[in-house]
Symmetry: D2
């Protein structure tokens, strides 16, 4: 058991605070002889990196990852892979206020309630900066999963503005600063977020993750169900308040007839020796039945609340029990959901890599 | 790591199949010298027991729990508590069809994809019968948490019919066969479920769990967050497709101003030596910030899909790869969400008991 | 984490007290489609069963094992295997003395120091009766390892009388009541143990376990080393005070030249397409280097102290802090090391099965 | 589960290779608000540091530890503590021979058998250099245990030359380069090791660890026994081949009368309100009964084999399956047992800190 480790056979332990010298993680359990270098990890970190548009925090961090162990002559050795990212833009400032006043809706107060001490600089351990380590680990997970497993995510809602799924275009996701798959929605989001940003406000969002090519059979009932592990993985991301699989909460409104995904065997391809292939007529299940992957795309969505850092004063208290009004000046994300997109992908990759190894252990 | 264990310091390992001789669990890590007897566990099992109304499966099981170890002269000893429930109503029948045909939307097919074998009688290990063991373990968890932690759940939606939260009445929950907290909704649900039942159909539902008296500080960031563990616990229940905490998916539509829960110190009570008490003006957070309990009620909701057992034929396949149409005759729950209410309570109790011990370990 | 579970991927959770209604275990992680029935487990339990000669306790227990889950139509299903053994000979007696007086050298006192309560009947949870569950689990582990991995143990010392390794004969082990591999030593042990038994005394012993056919590569550095896991497994057996691998403590007296196991490639067999085979000129290492199996026989020895149940009074105390002299009447083993032989085999089998799955998970 | 993590609630994950840029560890689960700085850790590392006498390897490493997270303003925060030590003396050389030839008695061959790849520079991950991370973690463990728990170790045997326990003097341990507690033995060891060193040979050793002030009740039966966890902890140290507790293998030669540790209640001290105190007349048990601490000193011994790095050629093979003779030139420890002394202390501290937290979790 470890509070700061994730996964079982593909096991990631992260460490570090927002304004300490560095953050990082140790990835244990990685199979040997996989090609791996910093160049395989860096692009994923670059997607999550702050300061790339005016819609994310203006903190400037190169987020250069360094591999300190576990890789030799370009290949994993099977020993633990230590990954490290230096913190460089720890803006020198007076933390006096934050040190003693709790931001409503922030983990400030609960860390203090629990530990009686906290590193208050930039949120300390509770900062979303920790998610950089997750993204780095996710890149290693992808190396294990191989190119046939494709894990992609997109922002599907900002506040009251959902995308139109009918206009979904994966190529569009990388063309706009919102990871939005619906080109027609981009201008509206841009206008709205500009407003939010200028008002010193913030707004929530929903992210959808899709994993294609997941081998059927992954997942371990009863308490290692693939969907249960995904739920924990996504809920553990900063500011997440809800997770759903497939039709999710929508499934509660369906009848058994509406929710059933019909199955058929597709005939073998001409000239092939293989037998037919199991195909599904729909995917209400989100690729998981009884906690085990069906082979269809695994689909998960998670809801991100608006960040608590806003310019409007909100009633709060100090460490010493005085009533105060708190507003947060300085750098922040108007919509933290945006940068949660690559994090959601990474966590999904980590869960799938873990289950790939677990499945192989038991089934061979 | 264990696929069939749940929790870390309060650790539950369940075993058993729907139509085997018995099901049960081993509860490890329970503190010593807690009063415990079968009479403390049985009432919770009775709430979950099937066959109590026409709206749940007609399988008749007394679900009598037996304590086989870990309790001596009415007190826990600190050693593992083995709990066992016999299966009695394993109706003699021909399973030929189910043995070879997969029910669309059921774990039939994925168990076979994973293991290449399954106990097909009554769903085998994937049957919701396994949740009886969870409810038994939950009763032990409640003994650890003590009377100050009150965990209750209710059904808040069937299909497209949500309750009105303004009419919430905990006493009502135990007065109707739906665990419905809104007396005004009961007749409508009754009429609707009668229809569903007669049509051999099924319908989804949403359950809300509320835990009051949760000590502030419970929860272990980053990967043992209280909400992440609750998400996994609830998602691991049969047929669950979504989990949310506090405002959940609704939080994605809020601004930071709307979502902030203001804080104030309440003055000490007259004549008390204690200092003031931290109070919150709202509970959008659902009692958890940064993965740690605030001391407010912990609120979680989960969505249950309609059961796949319906009388309408749905295209499917056999083990041998033949295309067939499958319909399910016999006993089943028209709304499995109903019996998920005590299971949701039990899983929440297990998570909280585990975190109580984890918190005590680290903080003292 | 679980105090009463053993192993990671092949995971055994035991429960039960000496004089409760039953004892048992849950074996999780077993691969599916292995042939398994009670008949595969019972013979191993029969070897450990008490009352088979006058040199072990006279408690009469049939130790009939029952499989309650995880096996369907003679094959494992991949779901948890619950094994149960009833306690039948819970001799009716007055436990008044044992309930309040601590036996010197027994866990009586420490269970009370830890828990403040204990089931004192027959040693409760601390009784060696718990090892029956280990032996049952070990039989499942052997099913995973297959016939090519041969795990055998023998008693190599009673008190100051070691066997002569030059006379080692595996067939002899099953011909005498001591699991002694040296036929020439049997009469001397028999005479000596008769004396010990009549005097109401007890004596220590050493057991050697040999596992042949262990695939090279098993073991997971740094903290999952095969020898470290074996050390924990064997040390966890009741009354064990020492564990060694290969030359063990003898290796401390050797020089590097004496301790080196030379290696050579043996030529490929005539007509074989395979390459040569790695061979070692000696096995000081006991089949493990750097925590990883070499492919040579894995050799471990463990020391068992004499049981604390003796007729000679020894100064002791009561629960209430009074000084008393304690002697133990009634059934006991004059040399508990004898029945530790099948337990040592079982624990070794469990460790190897666990590492087989761990190795397969990471390496494929 | 993690191959490179140790402990459960006090959990240490180590990483790094002998000749990589750095080694380190992440310590998770540490209670908050403990005073901790690099100055608390460095002295323990300095004791283990190589190159301090001619009897250890001449590799020069300052072994300066750096705390990268988990400590704020001189106190632990309860979040993971990342500790890092740079490798500085990675002597530039040609590893051609070692890269392809296996040293008999070394983990060279098994790492390759397992992983099919290894970082061969200086032993890579299998190098004893990894133990520096253990010693750093042990310093954090000591901070948790507090000053009342005193953990000390000494070398009690080199080859065939044991110390005389009657001459044991803890002060002497820090006065000679062998951690020898018997001043009269020092000259003999010095003369002998000079010989060994000049001959390019090596020799085994035995270390004894004593932990005083261990609270009674620590240890968690059945599979988290204090002695089982110590056995795994010590056996996981490089080159260790045996572990024993209390009388250890000697207990196998004793009768129950000889092995019993008598107990008495000592009268309360004059003027004290407290009751009497439990005292033992001897400590054959090594402070542990039934896996639980009695309150007496916990005593463990472990055997270290001679290092495989010797100047005498030994038959071996290459990666390509050729037969060769291998001798090892260059820096090495003539008696690796010497530097295992602080490592044995550190591992014992880690086990005790883990069990302190585990005990507190369950018992409060």
């Amino acid at each position: 058991m470890s509070h700061n480790s994730f996964g079982h056979l593909f096991r990631v332990t992260t460490w570090g605070e927002s304004h300490g010298p560095a953050i990082g993680c140790v990835v244990d359990g990685c199979p040997p002889r996989l090609p791996l270098s910093e160049a395989d990890i860096q692009p994923w970190l670059d997607r999550r990196r702050p300061g790339q548009s005016k819609f994310t925090t203006q903190r400037q961090e190169p987020d250069q990852v360094r591999i300190l162990s576990g890789v030799f002559e370009g290949q994993t050795t099977g020993t633990p892979i230590a990954l490290q990212i230096e913190n460089t833009d720890q803006r020198s400032r007076d933390y006096g206020d934050i040190a003693t006043r709790y931001r409503p809706g922030h983990a400030d107060v609960t860390y203090d309630l629990k530990y009686g001490i906290r590193d208050y600089r930039g949120g300390g351990r509770s900062s979303a900066r920790e998610t950089a380590a997750r993204v780095a680990a996710g890149a290693v997970a992808r190396a294990i999963l191989g190119p046939d497993v494709v894990i992609r995510a997109a922002l599907v809602r900002i506040g009251t503005m959902p995308i139109d799924p009918a206009r979904w275009d994966w190529d569009e996701v990388n063309r706009n600063p919102f990871f939005c798959p619906d080109a027609a929605m981009v201008p509206a989001w841009e206008a709205y977020l500009n407003e939010v940003r200028k008002a010193g406000s913030s707004i929530g969002a929903v992210i959808e993750v899709r994993a294609e090519g997941v081998p059927p059979g992954l997942g371990a009932p009863i308490y290692g169900k693939l969907d249960a592990d995904l739920a924990a993985a996504l809920m553990s991301i900063n500011a997440v308040k809800g997770v759903e699989i497939g039709d999710g909460f929508g499934a509660a409104e369906l009848t058994g007839e509406q929710n059933a995904d019909p199955m058929r065997m597709l005939p073998a391809e001409a000239g092939s020796n293989a037998g037919g292939r199991l195909a599904f007529g729909s995917n209400h299940a989100g690729g998981i039945l009884g906690g085990i992957a069906t082979g269809q795309p695994v689909i998960a969505r998670f809801a991100v609340k608006p960040t608590s850092s806003i310019l409007t004063p909100v009633p709060s208290v100090t460490r010493d029990g005085e009533n105060v009004d708190v507003m947060t000046k300085g750098r922040h994300d108007p919509c933290v959901g945006i940068r949660a997109v690559p994090v959601g992908e990474a966590m999904t990759a980590c869960v799938l890599a873990d289950h790939l190894l677990r499945h192989r252990a038991q089934i061979g």
